[in-house]
């Protein structure tokens, strides 16, 4: 994964732990009983504080401090913090170690930063997250940009989510890109994109090559589009009917 210079710098800072940010909350964080109530503190800007509400009680104090530092760095980079907080909470729910949680949040921050470059100005927070996941799934920035180009800002989330999912079904990245972009270009094609995802996911369970077969069939049945795209060619298993003798 390639990163911009600024991101590398930031990561270097993050890697060396950020005691400066941590110290500010050392007082309130030492007591394990006390909740971190972000809005209480006098800190960067109230607005920025607003963004970084998270239940620090779910983490040990060291991890909570480190995380808060990461979140603030994300704000500095102009990245949304909600996805990072969500990931941290997920890690805590899964009983992951503080180290692993911090590592995952750092990596997501870097991916969000790269996604921001690839997706460009005006992209929504959901789009940035979806783009970050697509990058982590192995697509390159060029691909993410290509998907972005098919839709107005804010409306590329479904396309990016579907693109990401195709990777786990063994669809080659280039093929997935072509399939998603060609469908996403069509008007009101979110339904069709989700249909593609479902068709491929269902067929991927059946064996090698099945996912790609399903993708090709689906794309063939969908393009060229017209208002009111038809249902995917791969349907659910047909219901059992009495046999026609």
């Amino acid at each position: 994964m390639t990163l911009t210079g600024a991101a590398w710098l930031l990561l270097a800072q993050l890697a060396s732990a950020s005691p400066a940010a941590g110290v500010m909350f050392a007082q309130s964080a030492t007591s394990s009983q006390q909740r971190m109530a972000p809005d209480d503190q006098a800190l960067p800007s109230a607005q920025q504080r607003q963004q970084i509400q998270f239940d620090a009680a779910r983490f040990d104090s060291v991890t909570a401090n480190t995380l808060r530092g990461l979140f603030e760095d994300a704000v500095e980079l102009g990245l949304p913090t909600r996805p990072l907080i969500n990931r941290a909470l997920e890690g805590s729910a899964r009983r992951m170690t503080g180290d692993r949680i911090v590592k995952v949040v750092r990596e997501l921050t870097a991916a969000l930063n790269e996604a921001k470059v690839a997706l460009g100005a005006g992209s929504t927070s959901d789009e940035l997250v979806a783009g970050a996941e697509a990058l982590r799934a192995g697509y390159d920035a060029r691909t993410v940009t290509a998907v972005r180009a098919t839709r107005t800002p804010g409306s590329a989330v479904t396309a990016l989510v579907v693109l990401t999912d195709l990777a786990r079904s063994g669809v080659p990245t280039g093929t997935a890109r072509e399939a998603v972009t060609s469908i996403a270009k069509l008007p009101r094609s979110d339904e069709a994109l989700l249909g593609l995802q479902m068709a491929v996911a269902k067929n991927a369970q059946r064996g090698p090559g099945m996912a790609l077969d399903a993708l090709n069939r689906y794309v063939r049945g969908t393009i060229p589009g017209s208002p009111g795209l038809s249902a995917p060619t791969t349907t659910d298993r047909k219901p059992v009917r009495p046999p026609d003798s």
């Binding site: 063994g170 080659p172 093929t175 072509e178 399939a179 972009t181 060609s182 067929n203 059946r206 064996g207 090698p208 090559g209 099945m210 790609l212 077969d213 399903a214 090709n216 069939r217 794309v219 063939r220 049945g221 969908t222 393009i223 060229p224 038809s230 249902a231 060619t233 791969t234 047909k238 059992v240 009495p242 046999p243 026609d244 003798s245």
Partner: protein, 193 residues
């Protein structure tokens, strides 16, 4: 164990007997379905559907008949159904500026085999009734009387389908591969030129 014996056991609810029947005829069914439909996954679907129908209807099967023939009657029906419903949904592929792999030939990966992709594509351009008749006659080796009983069509109509289908297939295969536009699978509603 003969087919008849397996059928009797299947009727009493013996799953292994049915499994043996499936293993005996799966190959043949699948090859036919694959040539009829042009795609592995569709062929698998249709074959499974056919075996399901056979299982549910096995009470009505007369052991004096050939199991294979009875099964193939169900199979040809299912193939026809699959093509009809596919025809309702499939749009004619228009070459996009983005190249997509659309040929029904073997996908890349471990499942790849050396198969006659040009033939499968050419078969796909035939009228489905002609395709079916060709396969039943030349690949399955049926008599016209048997085909008539199986499909419900008259023998002379079947002979005509085989003749026309064969002519068209020869014409299609006579051209070089590049002349055949990729992905131009014909749907049943469209007339064959």
């Amino acid at each position: 164990m003969t087919d008849a014996e397996l059928v009797v056991r299947t009727r009493t609810g013996d799953p292994e007997a049915f499994g043996t029947l499936v293993s005996r005829y799966y190959d043949a069914c699948w090859r036919f379905a694959y040539h009829m439909l042009g795609e592995r996954a569709d062929a698998e679907d249709v074959v499974q559907e056919s075996f399901l129908r056979a299982y549910l209807a096995i009470a009505r099967y007369d052991e004096r008949d050939q199991f294979r023939g009875w099964l193939f009657r169900i199979l040809t029906n299912q193939c026809r159904n699959a093509l009809t419903s596919r025809g309702r949904r499939t749009r004619r592929f228009v070459q996009d500026d983005i190249a997509l792999e659309t040929a029904p030939a073997a996908p890349p990966g471990p499942a790849t085999s050396v198969e006659d992709a040009a033939l499968i594509r050419a078969l796909g351009q035939l009228d489905p009734a002609q395709r079916e008749a060709l396969l039943l006659k030349y690949a399955e080796g049926l008599e016209y009387s048997e085909m008539s009983a199986m499909t419900g069509a008259g023998e002379s109509a079947l002979k005509m389908r085989v003749k026309r289908g064969s002519e068209r297939l020869r014409a299609l295969l006579g051209r070089s591969i590049e002349d055949i536009p990729p992905g131009s699978m014909r749907s049943p509603g469209e007339p064959s030129t």
